[in-house]
Structure formats: C-alpha cells, structure tokens
C-alpha cells in the first residue's frame, strides 16, 4: 500500500489505541501517559500522511464500503487542501498532547482522567478524519464525533456551574451546525444516489442559481457556527475558558479552522466558486467579526476568555482574505485572487500556531496561580521568565508585528484588499477600502489588547499572593511552548517560502486556481503579482539585529553604569501593587470611545454614614459590558421556545375527558380529510 495509506492507518490506530488504553489504564498517571502516547503516535501518522501528500501532490485514497453501506460507507481521500489542514491539526496537537500530560496532573482524583483520555483521542481522531472525508456520511460522522468528544472535554471541570452552562451552549451551537450541514449536503446531492464528493462536484456544476444560494447560506451558517463568526460565536468565549488549557488550545487553534476548511471545500471545491456577492458577504462578515471580536477582547479580563474572543477576530481576518480572494476571482482577476487565498490559508496556519502557544502559556499561568483573572496576576515575568518570553512572542505574533508570522499573513491580506483597486466596477471596489479601514483598526486594537494582556499579567508587581507564589512550570510544558514559539518565528522569517507552498496548494483546488502557472517568486521577498510591493521579514530582522548589536556595543564600550532604585512616585514613600494600573483601567479609554458598541451597564450606589447625611460611608460603582447581540439574537429564540413549551404543557391538563375529546377531534379531522380528498 502507498506510504500515505499506511500513515493514515497508523494515525487511526494510534488514536483508537490511545483512547482504549487510557480507558482501561490502572492509575490516573498511567491514563495521562497513555493518552499522550496515543495522541503522539496518531499525530505522527497524520503528519507523515499530510507531508507525503503535500510533497508529492498525489492524493491518498482509502475506502471501507462495508461499513454502513446503506448511508454511503466510509470513504477517505486526502488531497493537498485536506493535507494542509491535517498537517495544521497534527502540528498543534503533538505539542498540546505532550503539554497535557503534566498539565492534567492537577486533575488527578478530581475528575476521571480515563474518560478524558478516551475523549481526547476521539476528539483528535474526529478532527483528523474531517479533512480526509470524501463522502457525506464520513464527513458528517467525523464532524459529530469531534463535536461530541469536545463537549465532554469542555465538561471535564463539571463541578463549576458556569462550565455546565458553557457545555450546554457549546452542545447546542455545534448541533445547530450539524442540523444545517445535513440539508446543505443533501441539496447538492439532491435526487442522486451517490454521495461521494467526486459526484457532488459533478452535481454542483448543474445546480440552479436558487439552490446554489441556499447551499451558500447554509454552508456559511453551518461552518460559521463552527468557525465562530460574529452572530454565531457566542459559545466560543464560554466553552474555551471552561476546557483545560491544552484542549482550548486545540479547540481555538485548530478545531475552528475546520469551519474554514468546510467553507473552502463546499463553496470553492464542490460548487466551484460563485457570483460576486458571495465574496462580498464573506468580506462583510469577516470585517464585522474581526472588529467585534477584538472589541470584546479588549474589555475582557479573564485571560483565556480574552484569547477566545481573539480567535473570533482572527477568523474574521481569514474570512476577509477569503472574501477578497473570491471577489477578485469572480470579477476575473484570478492572479490577484490567489494573494487573498494565500493570505487566508497562511493566516489559518499562523493563527493555529500562535493561538496554541498563547493558550498553553495561559494554561501554565492558570496552573501556577489557579486563576485566570488578570486583575489578580502581575510580576510573573520574574517568577516564570520562560513562559513570559513565549507568551510575549505569541502576543507580538498575534498583534501582527514584524518580523513574526502574524505580520506576513496580514500583509498578504492587506495587499489582496489593495488589489481591489484594479476592479473596474466601482460598486464592488468601494467595499475594499472600508475593509482596509476595519482591518487596520482591528490590528491596532489587537496590539492595544495584547499590551494589556501581557503587560498587566506578566509585568510590574504581583497583585495577589497567588501570583506572588507562582513558580516556573514543568520543563516539558516549557519545551512545547518553545516548539510553538519557534514555529511562529520560523514561519515569520520563511514567509515567502511558505507563501509559495500555499499558492501551490491553492492551485490544486479547481475553484481557487488561477488557471495560468504560478509566477516564480524569490525565497527572500513576499511579492505581489504585477505590483512591485515587496517585504522581506528576514531582511527586516537582520537589519534590526544589526542595529541593536551595534548600539549595544557602542554603549557598553562607553562604560554603562546601572543603578537600581525605587520607581519614581512624586515623593511617595513606598510603591505598592495597589498603585499599579489594572486591566480595566487600561481598557477604559477605548471602552469610553466605543461606548455605543459596548452599551455598558453602569450602576453607582452611594450609601451615607448612618449617623449623618453629610458623610459618605462608601461608593460602589459597577459597570458590565454584556454582548448585546446575545439579547438581540438568542434571547428571543429561547423565549419563544419556552413560550411554545408552556403552551404545549397546558395541552396535558390532566382531565381524562379532555384527552378523549382530543381523540374524537383527531377522528373528525381525519374523516374530514378523507371526505375532502375523495
């Protein structure tokens, strides 16, 4: 059998063995180790399969028809696009699995690690099979397996009531995804027997415009609810903080990318692209998601919830890339469209890398300080130097600062938006500058947000004794963070080479390819076809390094004398942590600027001193920012459901006569229907 098929078998075997062995492990420690072993073996298999497909660009096929043949059987096909996503999954799941072994040590005895091991490997298996699925049943089966197992992972700390609440939201939203997925696939395969993707491509071409629009809307909502675009993202900031950190790293870094994979596979591969307004919708949804994601991240003070909102922002950026690409493609500028798609795919890979890193960092902080609230952290850089460094690298990367990987992919997305200038029809071209404005505002706010996140959590003095007693985490956890941080730096510096690989993958997908061969691009500069704009992260890094070394040498040559003293405080005697700036204070100016978006609820209560009216005993001011779209979109739905339920309950009123009346009424109705349709 081909190497790829063997690797896929190793992957499947690794995950299933990991799941089964950890279920029957004797002790908690053994369960943790077996979980990691299964995940690593499976991940290695998956990575090998993906790399072999990416290198040789030959798809790997495997079919198990005997299984559930009535519904179409299990059919596997790993093509370059699927291989890219499989590589992305395994690249993050390997470090996360190793990180998890020591991270879960604090759960020993508190929750069943055997079930956790089973669900963790099932989750990885589900995620890895989604990009390889080649017919409707396998895709939907893997999709739901991933959803079910990740639900149980979110519920590991089920003793807290907000975790249960988060679990319920998560289960409902992912099931909404499935409920929309089924009709979408069936609309494409309408009437025909075969359900393999190969046939769906043929049927896709013959669909009427109306069905294609219906499929587009269903796909956008189904995959959007998994990816977390704005109106459908409500589960993301609830579920990710509730899960153990290395699981939220996988969920936030990798699982939501399968929503992006689904969009590309259905819209551009099965349907082969669509009219211009599809791109417009993607662009609009992407920009809104990006902006609202970062805005709500700014006012968030729980570290993991902040990172979850940032996933919404980065998914928005990816969608902007996809939207720009498809708009340019539909207008005919296919070569320019490739920049957009390359930017989107590159940002998917980058986000998986730095989001995974940030969540692992947050996990170490949470393990040591037992709290995620930034207002109680501080001064961790001296106590956890390596974690702080890796968190800083992650923050710089996510804020798109050169020379790291975030900058390269956002530069490509910006260039694709600039390419909008070449569009002749003004009504389409008008949207691009607005998207540029929103994207720039998003990256500015992201930088501000991560200054807050890193600055308040790691710098200055610890604000609580938890933070004061924090020690550096286990070496294996730090090693895994180093791997991901290294990934961010290497992806940043080798951006031109990676971008070329991306454009070759895009060329493989019929709906995306530019038709003519890819122009050769240098391996030092990120370039844009027919525009001489270029940037070389490597060269920038070298220049920066050179200047820093030169200046450092000059200063030390001149004899640098350093004296440690107290921070200057306008004549204050001692510096206490209470005087430090807090997270809410840091975000307060921006909260005031964007007050209309936040609609903050404020209440001020002043209670007077009991003896006399003139002396104030205490003033309490509380202000909350509750996402308004939950009131606008979700509360009405829940209220109607409960209202209908109340009505139906009244149906069962307890009186036997009423019940018999129902039977007679039904009889009369049926007879009338029979008489009517004579």
């Amino acid at each position: 059998m081909a190497f790829g098929t063997v690797a896929l078998l190793v992957m499947a075997a690794g995950y299933t063995l990991g799941a089964v062995l950890s279920l029957v492990a004797r002790s908690d420690r053994a369960a943790r180790v077996l979980t990691a072993v299964g995940a690593v073996v499976g991940g290695a298999g998956g990575l090998a399969a993906a790399v072999s497909v990416l290198a040789t660009r030959v798809s790997v096929d495997a079919v198990l028809p005997t299984v559930v043949s009535a519904a179409g059987g299990i059919v596997i096909r790993l093509d370059p696009l699927g291989a890219f996503f499989l590589a992305l999954i395994t690249a993050v799941s390997l470090p996360a699995a190793v990180y998890g072994t020591t991270y879960m040590a604090e759960y020993d005895g508190r929750c069943s690690l055997r079930v956790f091991g089973l669900m963790f490997n099932a989750f990885l298996l589900g995620m890895s099979v989604v990009p390889c699925a080649a017919n409707i049943f396998t895709f939907v089966m893997a999709w739901e397996l991933m959803a079910v197992s990740s639900y149980f992972l979110v519920m590991t700390e089920s003793e807290h009531s907000e975790t249960r609440q988060a679990g319920l939201w998560y289960a409902a939203m992912t099931h909404l995804g499935l409920v929309l997925l089924l009709p979408m696939f069936f609309l494409i395969a309408a009437g025909h027997e075969a359900t393999a993707f190969v046939d769906l491509r043929a049927y896709g071409a013959t669909l009427t415009a109306g069905t294609r629009t219906a499929v587009f809307l269903l796909a956008l909502t189904a995959f959007g609810s998994k990816a977390g675009i704005v109106p459908l993202h409500v589960w993301l900031p609830r579920a990710h903080p509730a899960a153990p950190s290395h699981v939220s790293a996988l969920m936030s870094g990798v699982m939501i990318k399968l929503g992006i994979y689904g969009l590309i596979r259905v819209l551009f591969d099965l349907l082969g692209g669509g009219p211009a307004w599809w791109g417009g919708v993607l662009l609009a949804v992407g920009s809104v998601s990006a902006l609202l994601g970062v805005l709500y991240a700014l006012v968030e003070h729980d570290l993991k919830r902040l990172l979850a909102y940032h996933s919404v922002e980065n998914i928005g950026i990816i969608l902007i890339g996809l939207g720009a690409g498809s708009l340019l493609h539909s207008v005919g500028l296919r070569a320019l469209a490739v920049i957009g798609w390359t930017g989107a795919l590159f940002h998917t890979l980058n986000h998986a890398c730095f989001k995974g890193l940030l969540f692992l960092g947050a996990g170490s902080v949470k393990q040591q300080t037992h709290t995620g609230n930034m207002e109680e952290l501080g001064g961790l850089i001296t106590r956890m130097p390596q974690t702080a460094l890796y968190f800083l690298v992650g923050s710089a990367a996510i804020a798109a600062l050169p020379p790291l990987n975030g900058f390269a992919s956002e530069w490509l997305v910006f260039q694709s938006l600039l390419a909008g200038a070449h569009i002749s029809r003004p009504e389409i071209a008008a949207g691009f500058p607005i998207a540029v404005g929103m994207l720039a505002l998003t990256s500015g706010l992201a930088a501000a947000c991560f200054v807050k996140a890193f600055g308040i959590s790691f710098l200055a003095m610890p604000r609580s004794d938890h933070a004061a007693q924090a020690r550096e985490c286990h070496w294996s956890m730090r090693a895994m963070m180093l791997v991901l941080a290294g990934g961010c730096v290497v992806l940043g510096l080798a951006a031109p080479w990676v971008a070329r690989g991306m454009s070759r993958i895009i060329d493989g997908v019929p709906g995306l390819s530019a038709g003519e061969p890819i122009p050769p691009s240098s391996s030092l500069w990120l370039t844009v076809p027919n525009s001489s704009a270029q940037v070389s992260p490597l060269l920038l890094a070298v220049l920066l390094g050179a200047i820093t070394v030169a200046v450092l040498g000059a200063i030390h040559a001149g004899g640098l004398r350093v004296r440690r003293a107290d921070t200057w405080g306008c004549g204050r005697i001692s510096q206490t942590p209470r005087m430090e700036y807090t997270a809410s204070a840091f975000a307060e100016p921006l909260r005031r600027v964007f007050a209309e978006v936040y609609q903050p609820t404020q209440d001020l209560s002043i209670n007077m001193h009991p003896e006399s009216r003139y002396f104030i005993q205490s003033i309490t001011y509380t202000s909350h920012v509750v996402p308004w779209f939950e009131q606008v979109f979700y509360d009405p739905v829940i209220r109607t459901a409960r209202g209908l339920a109340a009505q139906t309950r009244r149906l069962q009123a307890g009186s036997l006569h009423l019940y018999l009346l129902y039977v007679v009424a039904a009889l009369v109705a049926a007879l009338a229907c029979a008489w009517w349709f004579q």
Binding site: G654, L660, V664, L667, W675, Q678
Partner: protein, 217 residues
C-alpha cells in the same frame, strides 16, 4: 323476504340508537344499566334475524351475545352500582338538552358519512349502516361527556355493541373465530375496568373522574 328483513333490521338498529339516547337523557346509573341491557337484547335479536336470513352460524353468535352482554355484564354492573351506591350522576359537562342536540348533530354526521356506502352494497341490511355509525358516535359522546367512571364503562360497552352491530349489518357477521376473539376482548376489557373501578374507589373514594387530574404536564 327482503322488505320485511330490512324492516326488522331497521327497527332493531334504531331501537339500539334510542337506548343509547336514553343514557344521554336520564340521570341515574340504574337507568343506564337497563338501557344497556335493552340494547344488548336488541343486538342479540338482530343477530338472530340476520342468522335466520343469512347463514345459520349467527345463531351461536346471538346466543353468546345474549348470555354475555344481555345477562352477565348487566348483572355485574348492577352489583357494582349497588356496592358504590352512587345514585345521581354528577353534573355532567354538558346538560341534557345540549347533549341531545349534539347527539342529533352526530346522527346527521353519521348519515352524511354513510351516504357513499349505500351506493356500494346491495345487502338488504344496508339501511342499518348509518344507524350503526350513529350509535358509535353517540356512545363516543357518552364516554367523553359523562363524569362517572361507571358511566364511562357503560359508554365503552355501548361502543362495543355499535361495532358489533356494524359488523352484523355490514357483512352479515365476521367469521366466527373473529367474533369469538372480539367477545373475549370485550369480556376481559370489562373485567379489567371493573377491577380498576374498585381500585379507584379504594384510593380516591369517589368515582368522579374529575378527581383523576393529578398527573399533569
């Protein structure tokens, strides 16, 4: 031969309809029991006449009908009624005048429903079909509108009679094995209902079905 036979059948089935209406009209359980006994006797007689004109097997059926529904069940009903001493029917949901009005509407509806059947069959007893349907609907109305458990049981027994009538009139009686099975079910159904009435009386010490409204939603 046909005219007298169909006249007799018409007489029998309309008699059964009248006995059903008596239950709606009167208020005492003893009156319902006598109405039910009369109805069973009429049904037995009708089956015998059809047996006389049709195949002879129906005599056995008539005999069984007479023994079981004409004598045994009314006797059991009588003992039950005397034991629980419930003379007056609690105020039903619908007073007498309105019940009779509804009964007439139901009869009209049965006739409307029965019209296509007349075209279908040439059996002399086809006149009885709409009547059987009206007895069925009236007994359904009895079960739905009356509050006492015993009255509901009597309504249910009248429903069984209506269907037996339908079988006899429509198809000159279903095969004997089926007839025997239906009898067995009717008897067992009645016995179980009787046991349940004792249960209800023990636990709720009233037979008013409105008391049975604790299980909701």
């Amino acid at each position: 031969m046909g005219g007298a036979f169909s006249q007799l059948v018409m007489l029998g089935s309309s008699g059964m309809l009248v006995t059903a209406l008596i239950v709606l009209w009167r208020k005492g359980v003893p009156a319902y029991i006598t109405a039910y006994r009369w109805q069973s006797w009429l049904l037995a007689a009708l089956t015998a006449t059809v047996g006389y004109y049709g195949d002879g097997q129906l005599y056995w059926v008539a005999g069984l009908l007479l023994g079981l529904k004409g004598v045994a069940i009314p006797a059991l009903l009588r003992t039950m009624q005397r034991r629980f001493g419930t003379e007056r029917e609690a105020a039903p949901y619908v007073n007498t005048e309105v019940s009779l009005l509804i009964a007439s509407v139901l009869v009209v509806f049965a006739y409307l429903l029965g019209r296509p059947w007349m075209a279908v069959t040439q059996l002399p007893t086809r006149q009885g079909l709409p009547l059987a349907m009206s007895v069925l609907f009236v007994s359904l109305f009895i079960i739905v509108s009356r509050k006492k458990a015993i009255t509901q049981v009597i309504g249910f027994l009248m429903l069984e009679n209506a269907i037996a009538l339908l079988a006899v009139v429509g198809t000159f009686g279903v095969p004997f094995l089926v007839e025997f099975g239906v009898f067995l079910d009717a008897l067992m159904g009645f016995l179980v209902m009787q046991i349940f009435i004792y249960h209800i009386h023990d636990t709720f010490d009233t037979l008013d079905v409105d008391a049975l409204a604790r299980l909701r939603h």
